[in-house]
Symmetry: C2
Subunit: 495 residues, 2 copies
Amino acid sequence: MTDEKLLQKLSEYERKRFAYTHASGIMYYDGDTVAPPGSYLVRGDTMGELAMLSYKLSTGKRFEDMLGELIARKENFDAVTKRKIELLKRDYDEIKNVPAREYADYARLLVESMNAWREAKKNNSFETFLPFLTRVFETVKRFARYMAPDSDPYDTMLDRYEKGLTVKACDGFFGKLRARLVPLAAEIAPRYENVDDSAFRGCYPAALQREFSEYLMGVMGLDRERCIIGETEHPFTTNFSKYDVRITTHYYEDSPVSSMYSVIHEGGHALYELGVGDDITLGICGGGVSMAIHESQSRFYENIIGRSREFTAMILPYLRKQFAPRLDGVTPEEFWRVVTVVKPSLIRTEADEVTYALHVMVRYELEKQIVAGNLKVKDLPGEWNRLYREYLGVDVPRDSEGVLQDMHWADGNVGYFPSYAIGSAYGAQFLREMQKDIDVWGGVSKGDLTEINGWLCDRIWKYGQLRDPGELFESICGPLDPDVFIDYLAGRYGV
Amino acid sequence: MTDEKLLQKLSEYERKRFAYTHASGIMYYDGDTVAPPGSYLVRGDTMGELAMLSYKLSTGKRFEDMLGELIARKENFDAVTKRKIELLKRDYDEIKNVPAREYADYARLLVESMNAWREAKKNNSFETFLPFLTRVFETVKRFARYMAPDSDPYDTMLDRYEKGLTVKACDGFFGKLRARLVPLAAEIAPRYENVDDSAFRGCYPAALQREFSEYLMGVMGLDRERCIIGETEHPFTTNFSKYDVRITTHYYEDSPVSSMYSVIHEGGHALYELGVGDDITLGICGGGVSMAIHESQSRFYENIIGRSREFTAMILPYLRKQFAPRLDGVTPEEFWRVVTVVKPSLIRTEADEVTYALHVMVRYELEKQIVAGNLKVKDLPGEWNRLYREYLGVDVPRDSEGVLQDMHWADGNVGYFPSYAIGSAYGAQFLREMQKDIDVWGGVSKGDLTEINGWLCDRIWKYGQLRDPGELFESICGPLDPDVFIDYLAGRYGV
């Protein structure tokens, strides 16, 4: 076989792989946004079939022969192809030991589990979710063992979301964060005890909030030809190449601030996906490279930009007009204080920038214990509540506001949560570098994020998966250093 | 291989076939309702891959071996399996001669063509749509030749939508309809020249119309656990088994009547799909059996039920309340006259019950001519406008209200249109039989369609594709007789 013929095979493989993932992703999105409730079992069957197709495409003799040839001739090819070969080999090593049937069963299980989670959250009933969650944890653990029989399964899970991340590194990272964050939060929180947010409570109709979302997406520079917004219980971003990126939000009619920061957060994810290079978006190197880099972008926009004095002052005139006359008396400083309140609370996605990492830590500790076999899934609610008491000092009144609040575990994403905190730390380091090159706050004050988007696109977005996350990050910022993040927070809060 | 093993193979085949069709259908629906405009090219690629999978599944040695075995042992199996074998053979004979690559290309072409049609309709620009439409007609004609090299291609197309239907039968059917309908319409139309529909014009907000749709779906007995409603330019129904049926409508804020009848029409399609038997819905015999039987159900609800004096009188109190105080002065008789106006017009989907078949006839004549090579696609607008003048006596002011109004050709549905008129005729004969068994109008007057739905479900819906449409129809009503339809119209309009 000539090199050219081999590359044709690779390109054919990429096309099919993209198509199966694309179809499966659309079904997932459809199921989560519009599909009738009664359809979920059948959808599970179909997604199982698609997962089976993906599995068969990337395993078996045909694929192994192609991969073997590609590895043998790697030096003949350009850098992008080399990277594709590297990623293919990594994926293959990951799934080659997972039996095909289990792979398809897992796809089906996730559909059922997500459905059970939605019902359980609605009815505050952990017991009905328990059998599904138990099977999800058992399955991800079994898969981790298939993937790397000699490794700690939780290390394997962490590594899947952030290449190279380990329990040891996480323990160190969170330990350092906790040591400085807990006293920092304790120092800041009392100053916000008497913040009056009553102007931002009451009736903010969803229809007006929808228009506000459109405005925010405009400010962020999200290309509406390629990016839509939908509504789901739990906001998320999904993408099928740079030509189809979808964010969702949830409108609470008693608070416009909640959806505002969901839109900015998911918009950050979307900008990353929309900025991937044209030449790689449909292939193996398409899409964002890791969850932590993704969260670094979403949390950069949500917190570093979105909760800055400059940003809040810049959008207040729009808010005043859109929700007139409710906010007529609100000053920029008052608005800023409302969106930067530091207060230990129950819901991660509503948490402030300072205590957020403590929410993540609860989940990190719990999933680590479950995977290690030191905690039973049925005991999750109790332990969840105990840790919320211990880390955040709050009492969880019911599971729907506790252990049932997030979709991640229902969806099999074990080992994902640490990425949120690491992403926040990445973001602070990106800001420090960015400020050396451009006038960040000048742009924000004018409502013009072009330079910021351009800086991030040049250094991060356009690369897709061409570079590993650690390498990408260090090439821009040097080593990860949680102190930069904490210094940034201290600076923002003037302590 | 044992019979049992062979049946397992068949069941495995059905599962995959369902999954690929399901995934492809969801992508189509998503593309038509929410997907960002920039995504359509990539979606075309993925749908092409899925079409290729379907093609490969139902052709090739593996499939042929299974089918051969099934045919050889047909007598060993039960009636449902026998019917599956019959349908499989029929499908296979249809596509076995279509080259795989052309099959996938065609799926891609339809995505592009639908996109071009949407743009062209919006911009009133037939020229931009022309190259796509030309390729669609060329392809369906080529496919018809592959499918039945010795038949008239248009006969082949008609037969695909309504088993056994021919150009000869259509010519006879439309000839008879035209002979009695044209004088009937001429007699009725003048009585409606001065109908005052001003109360139903003006501002009817989409939000209130959405609630009206929910109400209508409730009256019709559509199970909302398995049936949703969305919004598209051109209303349609799509289904992925009886567990997931979706209708769409289009809200015109200056007229609540338009969407009302779209919802009832599509609701009729949906009831049919929701009523297919549990045991067959996911397999080869699942889904409605033909386009004409489908249209007989949708048009039965839209016109025979929905435009009856009983139905309109029954829903008027809701309308008065929902759109208060606009309709306070409207009497049941006035409302009935507004929705039963007979007036030759431009838009098929807005046409009255009497002139509707003339709209269908224009399309029938044109597609017949194009397929026969007697008319060029570029000359369609001119001929369209000429026939509207000739059959309906109206001048078409622009292509967006003329040849560009329907999505069917853009979507490759050539040979479909006659089903609308035949379905109307079927519906009138169903009514005649139904009235022998149950108190149709008593139920409608009470807003209770349970008996009607039950009658149709027992005789039509539950069978899915277990019986061919002609056989199914004749088993209930005897031979098709357009005079029953015309007598029904004459009765409704009292002439």
